[in-house]
Assembly symmetry: C2
């Protein structure tokens, strides 16, 4: 007894010392976050995936898969071009991806039918008639109504903000409202595209032209979705360039009378059908448990849909193809999903998530890429602290990709219903500073996509998917534990 | 005698010492270039302009003239839009500038009539029919012939270079040649736009589509001049975007049969007339001796001609307006010239220079701005070492503009005939890295022009013009002494 106590007195500081040393070694190696209390065993387990992760990385950055994602994407995009919701081209491109998935021996390959809206653009033009003739570069907005055949010809009022609009409310009836709102951020500025028509219609406007939502332009109109407020007159809505919005604003400020003719054949056809593309590597032990990696196959009807979301869709899909080629089968299922009709309101994803509600508990982790596939930085994610701690360990395996970082929250539109309902989810975090230069424009082409960046994104998705699908622990959902954004 | 010798022996090292000290003081003050041997008196004389130069600078960067160049330019560009050679709009805009010059009390204000070509674009389109329909963004090139009404429909051959073209010479007859040349530099890459049609026609091509000469694109076609080699069949020539050129090249490399329909109504009408705009401040002592400051008033028929060359033309013109407003009359005449028809081959300048050949000896210095009015750096110039030494002194007065640098050679197209014949000349050197993003496109708008940069350019031109027009020495011409580029 006496001896034991003596032993403890001698030993205790030494043990404390060892714990400290161990702690600092772990911190130094990036294995311990101060907020994390992961079991040492789990950390070791995750680290044991290092050889497999390196195999995945080597295959993409130096091996047979190098450049593969870009090549597959270029072939797809060059063959089909834009793939707009409701179009025959979208459906043919879906058939192609189903076949391509089968050719790569992916499993459970199938399309899941959903109902989709069918808006068509038709011929369209916007012409300034006074003070001088200017053919404006323009694009009608998704869901906008059209104009009569001869168009709408009216005087224009140019405003910089919704506040400006209210100040000029007596001048609005019968006019075309032109919004020249400054770009602040996408989420803030897109309000003008979304509800600009209804705000102007409430005051009696007959149509709206909205400055494109972008920080930079080479006379580039950007389309996108808009929506009408219930019980407000639906008036036609189109976007114009920053260049023309600022020009018209200067003319208006000088007191010039501006007259515009707007013609849009836009119309909404009956609801039609499309398909989400599903392709898997079945889990070896728990096939009902699933990691999802996804992007959307549809695009806008302008440009080529190479960036939005060709790059994201193909980095996701190619990551599963890569795992299959490397013969890497995890304990849980890894499911690639190429969503349909994202651009018209995450239509495909919403119906898929609703239809598979019963299986939501079996979702281990859901991923998406839809904000560019420029140089990867890491993952933007939403989940519990425990999931964050595990992810930090997993991302630590990716140092060869130089894409090990995590930040919150997750920002992926198609997986947002899942993430909102508690499923941990992550989106590709990448150096996408110029994403909105190309977004929803004719400049969304293969020129935006870089083979090396796509390789890194593919490797990141493949590695994270595999490790999360194979580890011994189920990731907790965050139903009652949503972290602060 | 003895005494004198002794005095010399004592004095000599002291005098040498004083010369050394003086030299280093001068080097320290930036007054002596190792290659310069300017008389001290001349250096002092130039430095004595410091108060006037500061008055000029203060007026533009802080005083009443602040923002004036941009405002004048915006009003002009917004009012007239593009001002293409041969168009009524160009002539009306010339009338406007003549009136505006008179309103600002400039002297000897007049237009000098020149003969100008009259090429018109008309309707035009390029459509890929196979392997899938693509409406290509395109712009016909200046001086190109048109196509038959139904257009030219032919298979396409896509090449990356003139070497590629030669390698495929057996495939060229009857085809449309698409050049997908990489952008190296403007001067190098523009060869494809200039002589691509004739090189392809020699091998039997029926039309050419040329990748736009630019390092960056948002699906942006760039027009420009082309020319036909004598005795070679004239075939239609248009530019397409980098995006489409690379897309079609990938398709061609995959062995796809590409069929294109090209329609161009382009045609050349009879020669017509235009005018160079001249406006002066008459010299007080030697009015026949002249400093010229210039830019071109015409633009391409796309975009607004705000950058090319609205900015350059207005910085030049406004510098003379500014001197007039400040009541600064130099000994020699300062002449603002707004050249016409530059875009169709420096047509206005060439005729003016030819018509005024007899007066070339009286030209003190000629200036131009036609490569952007982004943040000024200084002047690009051509002249003798003596002119360089004098200019260094003059530029030294502009430290408040942070635009004191000189480099050679001068790069201004409109003044090149003068400079080639020995007249010392300078062009605005500015931070124009992005100039070719906008060049000859619909994106050449007021959005490119920055009020502060224009103020700095105006101040630079005003100060350099005034000092060179007022100093006691005539600048030597370099007839037999052209410096190495």
């Amino acid at each position: 007894m006496k001896f034991k106590l003596k032993f403890c007195i001698i030993q205790f500081p030494f043990i404390i010392f060892l714990i400290y040393v161990g702690f600092f070694i772990n911190v130094y190696n990036g294995h311990v976050d101060c907020e994390c209390n992961l079991p040492r065993q789990l950390i070791k387990e995750i680290q044991s995936y290092s050889p497999i992760v390196n195999k995945i990385i080597n295959a993409t950055i130096a091996g047979k898969f190098k450049g593969k994602t870009w090549k597959e994407l270029a072939l797809f995009v060059d063959t089909f071009g834009p793939r707009f919701t409701g179009s025959r081209t979208l459906e043919v491109s879906i058939d192609y991806m189903l076949n391509r998935s089968k050719n790569y021996n992916l499993e459970n390959v199938h399309g899941e039918t959903v109902k989709v809206p069918h808006w068509v653009r038709g011929q369209e033009s916007a012409t300034v008639l006074k003070p001088r003739k200017i053919n404006l570069a323009m694009l009608g907005l998704g869901y906008s109504v059209g104009t009569p055949k001869k168009g709408i010809t009216a005087e224009a009022v140019v405003v910089n903000s919704f506040d400006d609009l209210k100040k000029l409310k007596n001048e609005i009836p019968g006019k075309i409202v032109i919004y020249n709102e400054k770009f602040v951020s996408y989420s803030e500025t897109v309000e003008y595209r979304s509800r600009g028509a209804s705000e102007a219609a409430k005051l009696g406007a007959v149509a709206v032209l909205i400055r494109s939502v972008t920080p930079f332009s080479l006379y580039t109109p950007h389309t996108g979705m808009m929506s009408y407020e219930a019980n407000v007159t639906k008036i036609p809505a189109a976007c114009i360039t920053i260049e023309d919005a600022t020009l018209l604003h200067r003319m208006f400020q000088r007191g010039k009378r501006i007259v515009v003719n707007l013609k849009m054949q836009a119309r909404t056809l009956p609801v039609t059908q499309s398909r989400n593309v599903v392709a898997e590597i079945k889990g070896s032990a728990q096939p009902n448990k699933v990691v999802v990696v996804s992007g959307h196959i549809d695009s806008w009807d302008v440009g080529q849909g190479a960036m939005d979301d060709g790059g994201g869709a193909f980095a996701s899909w190619a990551s599963v193809v890569l795992l299959r080629l490397l013969n890497l089968r995890a304990k849980r299922t890894i499911r690639a999903i190429l969503w349909t009709a994202e651009e018209m309101g995450t239509v495909g994803a919403r119906q898929y998530i609703e239809a598979h509600k019963a299986e939501v508990r079996d979702l281990q982790f859901v991923m998406e890429s839809d904000i560019g596939t420029f140089t990867p930085i890491g993952l933007e994610f939403t989940g519990t602290e425990k999931v964050k701690c595990i992810l930090e360990q997993v991302m630590g395996l990716l140092s060869a990709l130089n894409a090990t970082q995590l930040r919150s929250p997750n920002a992926g539109p198609d997986i947002s219903d899942w993430v909102d309902s508690g499923v941990p989810g992550g989106s590709l975090w990448n150096k996408n500073d110029k994403y909105f230069w190309f977004h929803h424009t004719n400049a969304d082409t293969m020129l935006v996509e870089d083979p090396t960046s796509l390789d890194l994104a593919t490797a990141l998705f493949a590695a994270v998917s595999y490790v999360l699908a194979d580890i011994s622990v189920d990731l907790p959902h965050h139903t009652n534990e949503l972290p602060e954004p």
